[in-house]
Amino acid sequence: MTALPTAGPSERAQRYALIDCDVHVIPPSVEALLPYLADNWREYVTHTAFKGAGETSYPKNVATSARPGTAPPNGVPGSDLAMLREQVLDADGLERAILTCTYAVESIHNPDAAAAMAAAVNDWQIAEWLDKEPRLRASLVVPSTQPELAAREIERVGGHPGFVQVFLPVRSEAPYGNRRYHPTLEAAARHNLAAGIHFGGSPGNPPTPSGWPSYYLEEYVDMASIFQSQVLSLIAEGVFERFPTLRVTLIEGGFTWLPAWMWRIDKEWKGLRREIPWSRRLPSETIREHMRLTIQPVDAPADPRHLQQIIASLGSDDLLLYASDYPHQHAAPAGGTPSGQPAVDDSLGLILPETLGRKISAENARAWYRNL
């Protein structure tokens, strides 16, 4: 990789094909879901205090939750197709965008209500987004705390060619390697859908091993450590030995922590692997084969050279997937890149070699997701 100050615009400045692996949509209100609910649930929403999932991991007016200018008139960011076309698909010249919907199904404790709302959100994604815009693909929303029901929802709509992934909030009641979640993971693998573990979630249990922190800043920062626990669980439980075609995408949780995490869990595996005898390979090898990570937030160091070193320490050019995380906002990388650089370079604040730049921009996603 070339250090920033010495690299100028060049023939690489031409745009690479770009696939955005984290673009958010959200139903603007529970009313938007009514057409997709059965009569009994429509009646329940209309006449009781139940209005679907009310929780969110994105406080409304917080800088990280939405960029300025992304809210439609009288609406919430990520709820309007025309704006999404203008601000993301067209503006970035995207070949494809993969929708992630953070509708907090996991916060609904009534299992049937959770399943009904998840199904409604998926039918809404099909009707309002996938059917209308061929550049879009989407992530299936499932009642993640009820794996049997989640598997049933994957059976119901997993064959739809617009879905490429099952959405799982990184905050869960148990780590996703736990065998209670096998029905969900099995159904995802069978339908050739990735399991996308994503920032946030409201399952009710505390987000740290020491209870509830005071500030959203802590909740946000600590989220990366929950990704670490999930990665370790998937390795320890032998999920990829059981489902050899399963692929797990880690979305919106950063990636700079991964090299250090691989160093640690590889070393400890050498000392403790007789406890998990189904695990026959170094965890880092399994991670490189079965996991991918989106690049926003970058969590960039002040010195871009350090970020180059971290990317090299991933040990593979295949792991990173371009993502804008629209409409969420993240801090810009230090320094910035000269004008005319590909979007991926701007995002990372680095001039990437072209082969790596093309991989992160689109090729890795094409190899990872079905039907792109």
């Binding site: 505390p206 987000p207 209870g211 946000y220 320890a236 160093w263 160091p301």
Partner: protein
């Protein structure tokens, strides 16, 4: 890590003076502490015993999590016999000093009055059986840390004893350690110029991950850094160091390679969310580099030596890394083999001894 100790391999390396910042001791038996308790708590100690947050156990892959050769010939548990510890650790490796970190669990007692009595007994036993007979040893003060006032009382009782150089807490607590319920304890720590040590382990009532209970000891053990990460983030975000500008915190046995990416993430997020924490006057990483120390064992081992040097550059805390063996535990780091890359003689001296000497006034 070594399961059983070999002879020191490189004479030149062992010639480097070493200070071991993480040694574990335990009583030969539960009743050992009875005589250090008043009758009311002696009865409780022998009748009810320790009661913490149950259901948090992950059986170790070795009895007592100990090296197979660390059981003293007299049959007592590893770390309970001073002469054997002197022979196997202090003399064999020529250690200048060793810091005892006793994770007895006093702080996590559901009955906090009993936890306070247990802490007092534990500290009096450490003085009598370890500090007074062995001048190379220093100890960490055991405190009932879930109650800030009870903890402060114990710090005031023994904080000026020259053998105690630190206050010992554990990584998993009832609440994140930056929260105000713990501040009386920090006030007392600062008063006595004692660093706060946060050690691997514990159970504070929450599942041991932010996503519930994992299944295996491998996850319990390898999965410890998230606990220390959230504690560090809590200390910084709550503004503890604005209130206690001289407070020092040592993260013990939780690794260290996770810290540079965490500082990057914290600084970046703070740049957008700082409205929420107006009490922070500086970049979060500046508080980290000013107030935190880390012990080396168990050290993440990069796949290449170059990456270890890169890590040190990313961390930029050469004066804050302190060697530790974690004796008598199974993943013991020997002084001649602990560092995964050749460092400059000066940096090696700092990590092996000088940083600890400066922090603990040894």
């Amino acid at each position: 890590m070594v399961l059983a100790q070999e002879a020191p391999r490189v004479a030149q390396r062992t010639a480097v003076a070493a200070i071991d910042c993480d040694i574990h001791i335990t009583t030969p038996k539960h009743e050992t502490l009875s005589k250090y308790m008043p009758a009311r708590w002696r009865r409780h100690h022998e009748t009810f015993g320790l009661r913490g947050h149950s259901g948090a156990g992950y059986p170790r892959m070795n009895p007592n999590a100990a090296r197979t050769d660390s059981w003293p010939p007299n049959g007592k548990p590893p770390g309970s016999d001073l002469p054997f510890l002197q022979y196997q650790l202090l003399d064999t490796w020529g250690l200048q000093y060793g810091i005892l970190n006793w994770t007895i669990g006093a702080g996590a007692q559901l009955n906090q009055e009993y936890g306070a009595a247990l802490a007092r007994a534990a500290n009096d036993w450490q003085i009598e059986e370890w500090l007074e007979p062995e001048p190379r040893l220093r100890a960490s003060l055991v405190v009932p840390f879930e109650d800030g006032e009870l903890a402060a009382a114990e710090i005031d009782r023994l904080g000026d004893h020259p053998g105690f150089v630190q206050i010992i807490l554990i990584a998993r607590t009832a609440e994140p350690l930056g929260r105000r319920k713990y501040w009386k304890m920090y006030e007392a720590a600062v008063r006595h110029d004692l660093p706060i040590g946060i050690h691997f382990g514990g159970a504070g009532g929450s599942a041991i991950t932010g996503a519930g209970w994992p299944s295996y000891y491998y996850e319990d053990h390898a999965g410890m850094p998230p606990s220390l990460q959230t504690q560090l983030v809590s200390f910084v975000c709550e503004g503890v160091f604005e209130h206690f500008p001289t407070l020092k915190v040592v993260l013990i046995e939780g690794g260290m390679a996770w810290l540079p990416p965490l500082m990057w993430r914290l600084d970046r997020a703070w740049s957008l969310l700082r409205d929420e924490v107006p009490h922070l006057k500086r970049l979060p990483s500046e508080y980290v580099r000013e107030h935190f120390w880390l012990t080396t064992q168990p050290m993440e081992e990069p796949h290449g030596r170059r990456e270890f040097h890169q890590f040190l550059e990313h961390l930029d805390m050469n004066d804050r890394l302190m060697f530790a063996t974690d004796y008598p535990h199974w993943d013991f780091d020997a002084p001649d083999a602990a560092l995964p890359a050749r460092l400059s003689p000066e940096l090696e001296r700092m990590i092996m001894a000088e940083n600890a000497r400066a922090l603990y006034h040894l």
